[in-house]
């Protein structure tokens, strides 16, 4: 279970976040970004293994932030902390803080269930419930207290439209979701996530098991969704990070090595280790 080390928790103003002074690297229009998530002096341990080391990172509202790095670098651990998924990991411990809209999600009054409503997650492997397409989405609404059938139907249809799936399955809403293709199942999982009206969506390698056409649809969807949501995506696919993200963070062995606009990271990274990783020289 998560244990917070109160001694190590510091005031957000003192934490020395990774600030980006020139987000668009002089080429393009400078737009000051609004911070949605602030990770400050964030450390995470699985037992004695120090998995995340002093992470300071601002994630900007209604932008797509890609987290890249080799396997085991801590990127999935990091995004799982953003909605307290790691609460379920035995013998684990987090230190430091994560602020969403300035509220510490590890604070004493923070409710993990409420946090997970605000911060939805889509996983590598599509994981629809073995229920109808309709019920996959309605289920989450119902356990969140929705009872009105018309309200639920409207929400289901709108979520399916937003996830660019409705036109393909409009006559099959009562069919079992497991009969959908992998790409459709993944978009159903996104619809399920959107129905709860989160503010942030976390994608953990959402296209890893999909073909190029389904991948393109998910990527288009991510670009569409960022109009309304703050998105964080973990990906091993450099081209995908380039196509969909505004900002990129490079993690290595639990450390945040570099964080900047995606253009800067992939055109002219400041750290040799970032360059070695993205150009395949690593290791």
């Amino acid at each position: 279970m998560i244990k917070l080390d109160a001694k190590n928790r510091t005031n957000s103003a003192d934490m020395g976040y990774t600030e980006i002074k020139d987000p668009l690297n002089k080429v393009g229009n400078f737009l000051p970004e609004k911070t949605k998530i602030k990770a400050g002096n964030l450390n995470f341990y699985y037992g004695k293994t120090h998995t995340l080391k002093d992470i300071n990172l601002n994630i900007y509202e209604k932008k797509v932030t890609a987290i890249i790095g080799p396997s085991g670098c801590g990127k999935s651990t990091f995004i799982r902390l953003l909605n307290r998924m790691n609460d379920f990991v035995a013998d684990s411990r987090a230190e430091g803080e994560i602020l969403i809209d300035e509220n510490n999600i590890f604070g004493k009054t923070a409710d993990p269930v409420e946090i997970r409503k605000r911060v939805g997650m889509v996983f590598q492997k599509p994981n629809p419930f073995p229920k109808s397409i309709f019920d996959n989405i309605a289920y989450g609404l119902e356990i969140n207290g929705a009872k009105d059938r018309f309200y639920i139907e409207e929400k289901v249809v709108n979520s399916l439209k937003k996830s660019a799936l409705f036109e393909e399955i409009r006559h099959r809403l009562r069919d079992n979701a497991l009969g959908l293709s992998g790409g459709q199942q993944q978009r159903l999982c996104i619809a399920r996530c959107i129905a709860i009206e989160p503010e942030i969506i976390l994608f953990d390698e959402p296209c890893a098991s999909l073909d190029p056409i389904s991948t393109a649809k998910i990527e288009e969807l991510i670009l569409e969704l960022k109009k309304d949501y703050t998105i964080v995506i973990v990906t091993h696919n450099m081209q995908q990070a380039l196509r969909v993200s505004d900002y990129t963070a490079f993690f290595l062995m639990g450390e945040l090595i570099e964080y900047n606009t995606t253009k800067k990271i992939f055109e002219n990274p400041s750290d040799r280790r970032t360059e070695d990783y993205i150009t395949g020289r690593f290791g």
Binding site: M238, F266, E267, N268, E275, I278, T279, G280, R281, G283
Partner: protein, 221 residues
């Protein structure tokens, strides 16, 4: 970790270096042909351009294939982008050497207008710019690329001096000499354009080395 991709990047670099050696030789020969009013050497210069055109196409193909297969990023991407542009500038420089050779052929059967002093001086300067550009490319030398860009002002000023002198002393005074004087003016213009292409190359090297875009605003150095 060894990458086969490195061999392909190295191959592009070596092909560009081979091409630049040919281009330097083209400038050298075109000026030698002009000084000696040697039509045979001028023709040889024109023929050699075909080989440079072939190399240009091969570099384009290699770069396109690397982009297609490897999706280069960061320093690799900047290298391939710079190589593509350099390739184009080198080919254009060779075309300008051909233009000089063609002007030489136009005036080669006639007596020399005057002893050439400033045109060889201008040619020497642009040859040095080209040599330095290629060296900056080979050694990823930001400062040398900067030096190339800064030397362009001197090239422009010599070109202006040549034009003024030929206009005043020949075109205005002696209509019979106008055609030959005009050919020399055009040659000074071709040499000045070679200098401009060297500046383009140097700008691309600065981008390759530092990701800085200094084109059209050299105050960004």
């Amino acid at each position: 970790m060894y990458r086969h991709f490195e061999d392909e990047l190295e191959d592009i670099k070596n092909t560009i270096l081979k091409m630049s050696a040919y281009v330097e030789e083209e400038i050298e020969n075109s000026i030698k042909a002009l000084k000696n009013l040697d039509p045979e050497l001028a023709k040889k210069t024109i023929e050699k351009d075909r080989e440079i055109d072939r190399i240009e196409i091969s570099v384009d193909e290699k770069c396109a294939e690397i982009i297609l297969r490897h999706h280069p990023l960061a320093g690799d991407l900047r290298f391939v982008l710079a190589a593509l542009k350099l390739n184009n500038d080198l080919e254009r420089i060779a075309d300008l050497a051909v233009d000089i050779a063609e002007r030489t052929l136009e005036i080669s059967g006639r007596p020399p207008l005057k002893e050439l002093v400033k045109i060889p001086q201008l040619a020497g300067l642009v040859k040095l710019m080209l040599k330095n550009s290629v060296e900056a490319f080979t050694n990823r030398d930001y400062e040398l690329a900067k030096k190339v860009i800064l030397s362009d002002a001197r090239v422009n000023s010599i070109r202006d001096e040549i034009m003024a002198e030929l206009t005043e002393n020949f075109i205005k005074k002696d209509p019979a000499a106008a055609e030959r004087a005009l050919a020399l003016i055009l040659i000074s213009r071709h040499l000045e354009r070679i200098g401009d292409h060297c500046v383009n190359i140097a700008e691309d090297i600065i981008y390759m080395v530092s990701a800085k875009i200094v084109k059209h605003h050299h105050e960004e150095f």
